[in-house]
C-alpha cells in the first residue's frame, strides 16, 4: 500500500499534465472553438511536429541567450550579494535601491537596450540578466546578514577577521538560500528573454510566437508557449536536483 502510494506520488505531476491536456482538448471540442482563436491540444501537438525544425532553431536561440543572461545574473548576483550582505552599512544603504530597481518592469528596459545594442541577442541576454539577478542578490545577502551573534563571538575571540567569518560560516550558511534563489532566477530568466524577443529580435521563441500570432497561426503560438514552459521546467528541476546535492544538510527533514 505504501509502495503504491509512493508510486502515485511520483506519477502525480504527469497525471496532472495529462489531465490538463484532456480538459483543454475536450473544452475546445465541446464548445467548438475556432482554431484561430484557441487551438486544441491535438492541433498544437501537430504544429509542434510540423514546425519541429524552425521551433528547434528558435528554441536553441532562446535557450542559449537565457543561459547567458542567467550565468551573468549568477555571477553578478553572487558578488553583489556578498558585498551587500557582508556589511551592515552597505546592507542598509543598498537594499532600498535594489528593491526600487526590481520594481521597474523589465520590459521597459528593452527599448533602451535596443538603442544601445541594436536588435538581436544582446538585449535578450541583458533583459534575462536584469530580471534574474535580484532574487540571487537578496538571498545571498540575507543568508550572510543573518549570522548568529554567538557564532561570530566564538570566532572573533579566536582572532578571526571579518573575511574569515564570512568564508567559514557566512558563505556556506547562505548556500541553501543561494540555490533556492537559482530555481526562481532560471524561470525568471526565461521570462526576460522571451519578453525581449517579442519586442526586439528576429530570432527566438518570442519572435516566433509574435510573427505566428500576426499570421493568425495560433497553433504555432501555443506550440511556442509549450516549448518555453518545458524548457523552464527542465531547468528548474535541474537546479532543484543541484540544490539537493549541494546542500543536503539543510533539507534533512525531507529525507
Amino acid at each position: 500500500m505504501t509502495q503504491y502510494n509512493r508510486l502515485l506520488e511520483r506519477l502525480a505531476p504527469w497525471i496532472a499534465v495529462l489531465a490538463l491536456i484532456a480538459v483543454w482538448e475536450v473544452t475546445v471540442r465541446v464548445f467548438n472553438v475556432p482554431p484561430f482563436i484557441f487551438p486544441s491540444a491535438s492541433a498544437t501537438a501537430q504544429a509542434l511536429v510540423t514546425f519541429a525544425g524552425p521551433i528547434g532553431m528558435h528554441s536553441w536561440q532562446t535557450f542559449w541567450t537565457t543561459m547567458a543572461g542567467f550565468g551573468l545574473g549568477v555571477v553578478v548576483g553572487l558578488v553583489l550579494g556578498f558585498i551587500v550582505g557582508s556589511s551592515r552599512f552597505l546592507y542598509h544603504a543598498c537594499y532600498p535601491l535594489l528593491v526600487g530597481f526590481n520594481a521597474i518592469p523589465k520590459v521597459a528596459f528593452v527599448p533602451i537596450l535596443v538603442v544601445w545594442f541594436g536588435i538581436g541577442s544582446v538585449p535578450a541576454i541583458l533583459t534575462a540578466f536584469l530580471i534574474c539577478f535580484f532574487p540571487i542578490v537578496v538571498n545571498v545577502a540575507t543568508g550572510l546578514a543573518t549570522l548568529e551573534p554567538e557564532m561570530e563571538d566564538v570566532l572573533r575571540v579566536l582572532g578571526a577577521r571579518r573575511l574569515d567569518v564570512l568564508l567559514k560560516v557566512g558563505l556556506p550558511r547562505s548556500l541553501p538560500y543561494f540555490f533556492a534563489s537559482l530555481k526562481i532566477a532560471i524561470t525568471l530568466a526565461f521570462v526576460g528573454t522571451v519578453v525581449s524577443e517579442t519586442v526586439a529580435s528576429n530570432q527566438g521563441i518570442g519572435y516566433l510566437m509574435m510573427s505566428a500570432g500576426s499570421q493568425m497561426r495560433m497553433s504555432l503560438v501555443f506550440a511556442g508557449l509549450i516549448v518555453i514552459s518545458a524548457m523552464a521546467m527542465v531547468m528548474y528541476e535541474l537546479f532543484a536536483l543541484l540544490e539537493k546535492r549541494m546542500t543536503g544538510w539543510a533539507h534533512r527533514g525531507q529525507r
Partner: protein, 276 residues
C-alpha cells in the same frame, strides 16, 4: 538595588603576591545611554581557578564574559589578563554558549577543528599538520564520550552530545581561559549532571581557568572554587564565596547537608536581590 556592595578584602590582591591571571579593577560598561550594564567590578582570578557567576537574569553576567575575552572594552576601569591590559579579542580564550552553535554542514570532527583553522599560530600550519590536529580532536572527543560520532553531522546528535562537541571546540586550541555562558541551561537534568562531570574531569586533567556563567546554583557550587553573586542591573558583585569542598567532587555530594545548606544560602541571597 539598594544593597551596597559587600566586597570583602580578599578580592584585592595583597601587595607582593604574584600577578593574578585575570584582574578587574573598578570596571564599568555601558552599551548606550541607558546606564551601566555592569558597575564597579573589582576581582581577581588565579590561573587554573574555576569561577562561577550567578545572579538574576539580566544582571550582566554575559557582559562580564565579553569584557574578560576582550570582545568589548570597558567604559571605565581596567581589565588585565595574564599581566597585560586587554586591548582586543584574546586568542587564549575558548567559548561555549547555551546553544551549541555547531555548523550543520561540518561533521563533528570538522566542527571541533574549526578554531585551529582560524587561531594563530595553528591557522598557517593547518594543512601541513592536519593529521596531528585530527588526532587532538579525536582524543578530546573521546574524553567527553563522543567516540564513534566524529563523522556524524550535528543534527544527527542529541542536544547533550552537541553541547559536548561544542565544549570540545572551545578547548581544541588549548586555551588557558575557558568561557562558558550557561552551557548546560538547555539540557535535561540528567544530561546536565552528566556534563558537569565531563567538565569536572576535563578541568581536573588540564587545569585551565574557567569562567562559568550560570543560573543553576547547584551547578555553580558543584563545579567552582569561587562563586560570585551579582546584583540586578547594573550588575555589581554582592558576594564572593569560596567553595571548599574537597576535590575531586562526586555528584553524590550534591545531595548531602553541607552542600545543600550552601545552595540554600545562595538561593536565599538571590531571593532577596530579586525581591528588593
Amino acid at each position: 538595588m539598594t544593597a551596597p556592595a559587600t566586597l570583602d578584602q580578599q578580592t584585592a590582591a595583597p601587595p607582593g603576591a604574584a600577578t593574578p591571571f585575570v584582574a578587574f579593577d573598578r570596571v564599568s560598561l555601558a552599551y548606550d545611554d541607558s546606564g551601566n550594564a555592569i558597575e564597579e567590578i573589582s576581582l581577581t582570578i588565579e590561573e587554573g581557578e574555576f569561577v562561577a557567576f550567578v545572579g538574576p537574569s539580566g544582571c550582566g553576567k554575559s557582559t562580564f564574559m565579553k569584557l574578560c575575552t576582550g570582545l568589548n572594552a570597558p567604559t571605565a576601569g581596567s581589565v588585565r589578563v595574564d599581566g597585560a591590559p586587554v586591548g582586543g579579542p584574546l586568542k587564549i580564550c575558548g567559548m561555549a554558549f547555551q546553544s551549541a552553535n555547531l555548523l550543520p554542514w561540518r561533521t563533528t570532527l570538522d566542527n571541533v577543528l574549526l578554531p585551529l583553522e582560524i587561531v594563530k599560530p595553528y591557522r598557517s600550519q593547518f594543512r601541513r599538520r592536519r593529521a596531528e590536529f585530527e588526532g587532538w580532536a579525536r582524543e578530546l572527543l573521546r574524553t567527553v564520550g563522543l567516540e564513534g560520532y566524529e563523522d556524524q553531522y550535528p543534527w544527527q546528535l542529541s542536544g547533550g552530545m552537541q553541547q559536548r562537541a561544542s565544549i570540545c571546540r572551545a578547548l581544541i586550541h588549548r586555551p588557558r581561559l575557558l568561557m562558558l555562558d550557561e552551557p548546560f541551561a538547555a539540557l535535561d537534568a540528567f544530561t546536565r549532571e552528566e556534563l558537569w562531570c565531563v567538565l569536572r574531569d576535563l578541568w581536573e586533567a588540564q587545569r585551565f581557568t574557567v569562567v562559568l556563567v550560570t543560573h543553576d546554583l547547584r551547578e555553580a557550587a558543584f563545579l567552582a572554587d569561587t562563586v560570585y553573586v551579582m546584583s540586578r542591573r547594573p550588575g555589581r558583585i554582592l558576594e564572593r564565596r569560596r567553595i571548599d569542598f574537597p576535590r575531586p567532587r562526586e555528584l553524590a555530594m550534591t545531595f548531602e547537608p553541607p552542600f545543600t545548606g550552601l545552595v540554600q544560602e545562595l538561593r536565599a541571597r538571590i531571593g532577596t536581590i530579586r525581591s528588593s
